[in-house]
Amino acid sequence: MIALSGLTKEFPGGVRALDGLDLEIADGEFVALLGPSGCGKTTLLRTIAGLEIPTSGRIRIDGTDVTSAPPGKRDVAMVFQDYALFPHMDVTANIAYPLRIRKVPRARREARAAETAARLSLSELLTRRPGQLSGGQQQRVALARAVACHPKAFLFDEPLSNLDARLRLEARTFLKRLQRELGVTTVFVTHDQGEALALADRIAVMSAGRFTQVGTPSEVFRRPANTFTAAFIGSTPMNLLPGTVGDGVLRVAGAVLPRPGGVPDGPIVYGVRPEYMDLSPTPREDAFAGKVAVVENLGAAHLVTLESGARLVQVVVPEGEEPASGTAAWAVPRPDRALVYRDDRLVFPLPAPDGAGSPASGGGGLPASDGNGPPAAGGDGRPAAGGDAR
């Protein structure tokens, strides 16, 4: 288990990269640190690895305080974005190198390297140098180097970002399977929300050195705790429109919608994903009226951008149903998928009374029972989170 408490990192010059982070990562859990560039996710990973020393706060790994332990004494293995393989050593030497540092006898470490290489389909490449390998192979050697030392935790710093798009999908599946088989606690840094949704048991969304939400992929996807998370998660950006609750209805961008239960009168921000809207060719009261400005082909679907007054509303429509550019259209949000924010907090739908999947804003949420328990909200067939056309 990795436990962070009050972790703060301030760089010289006053930049606060980490701002009082609390998080507990259970044994065998796969946690993704997700956020835009500069949000502190890589700094957090490097702090866990011991490459950065926190300004304050503590890091415990399996109960041992490692806050000031050097990187080699933490029993974690890091995989770098650019792999950082040693170019002057062959694949075997690269994989076995951390073992050599730990004084594992030569025969044992070579056996371990060969065994790990076989598991990652690298057996044919053991005598090659990193420069003679393809990007995907280099990535697997980097993984093998981490796997071979049987660490307590893997720390991955965007290990898939240097692969081309197709290879990235393969490597992603491979990585998830490997992590399941080995059952090693994993922290994975990414700026790709699809990668985080696909891989992680839990996602910690970060912004400006803080966690904006920590939760399972479906929690984070279905019930983003604030508008930042809402806008960041999802393969198409969520529509976030200002509106007001009053007179028993919700008015937003020209549409009159049923009043969300339990939300007092006043201004709100209405959020709905483009995937959860339908396009109607005829006027409706519960729809955003607009003119089709752009139609983007996503493959199995189309992303339609409507100009609704001064606002843009995006809708995903199935293949073959896309409207012509310039025509009038009405975007109808599905009421069971609507999110209502007030003061940048989710006020509707509220968490299910049994407390399953409370959005842990600010971090510190204990891991949900497992990564598969869908939250109570919604209830129908789960959307293929992150598996949308991308």
Partner: protein, 222 residues
């Protein structure tokens, strides 16, 4: 031409002294240069300051002054002595001065090589648990050396030719001094000049050729 043939044995004996100086100084300069560069990139400010001060002072002092200081300053005045025999003593004083001088150039060539090694390499080494000097020795320097084999070749070639100013350190056996000595008897002899030039080229050309080949063979593919 007759002069060259007549004095060939003396000149050859002198030239062998140049070769001897070169071999010893090359080894010492490489070792000392590596130690210097380790200091210059060390995380300890004191080591860094000492390293860069040494390089800046010695590299910017003319070699003849370095050698003169070794023999007149260190040996005659301050009593540094390698041997009772004056000849042997001055030989090692020249070795001392020339190695100390060449090491600064080795250091700077290596430092350029270290700068070509991506920062991630040092990070990866640190993440694995290597100390600074372990990662320098096993990860950084092996890669740095490979990228600067050719420039190091130039440094060594310059050093081989610099053995001809050994007289500034009081060592009177090497070929350039022998040559001037023979000129006292024969007058200036162009063939002797050319003969010595060829002798040096026989040594330095292969050094350049070999280091170039080694450079392309060892080049680190990333």
């Amino acid at each position: 031409m007759d002069d060259l043939i007549k004095y060939a044995p003396d000149l050859l004996a002198g030239f062998l002294e140049n070769v001897k100086l070169s071999l010893i100084c090359a080894v010492l300069a490489l070792v000392l240069g590596t130690i210097l560069v380790s200091m210059r990139v060390a995380p300890t400010p004191v080591l860094r300051a000492a390293g860069s001060m040494y390089v800046n002072v010695v590299r910017n002092t003319p070699l003849t002054l370095v050698l003169a200081f070794s023999s007149l300053g260190l040996s005659d005045t301050m009593g540094l002595s390698f041997s009772e025999t004056p000849r042997t003593n001055s030989f090692w004083l020249v070795v001392f001065g020339l190695s100390a001088y060449t090491a600064t150039f080795v250091c700077e060539a290596l430092r350029a090589g270290i700068n070509t090694v991506p920062l991630g390499q040092a990070e990866a080494a640190r993440a694995i648990g290597l100390t600074f000097f372990q990662s320098l020795r096993m990860i950084i320097l092996p890669q740095a050396f490979r990228t600067v084999v050719a420039p190091l070749g130039s440094v060594i070639i310059a050093m081989i030719k610099n053995t001809t100013v050994a007289i500034a350190g009081g060592y009177l056996m090497e070929s350039a001094f022998v040559m001037r000595d023979t000129f006292d008897d024969t007058g200036v002899s162009i063939p002797i000049f050319i003969g010595l030039v060829i002798a040096f080229m026989v040594v330095t050309l292969p050094v350049g050729f070999l280091t170039n080949r080694l450079a392309s063979r060892l080049a680190v593919a990333r």
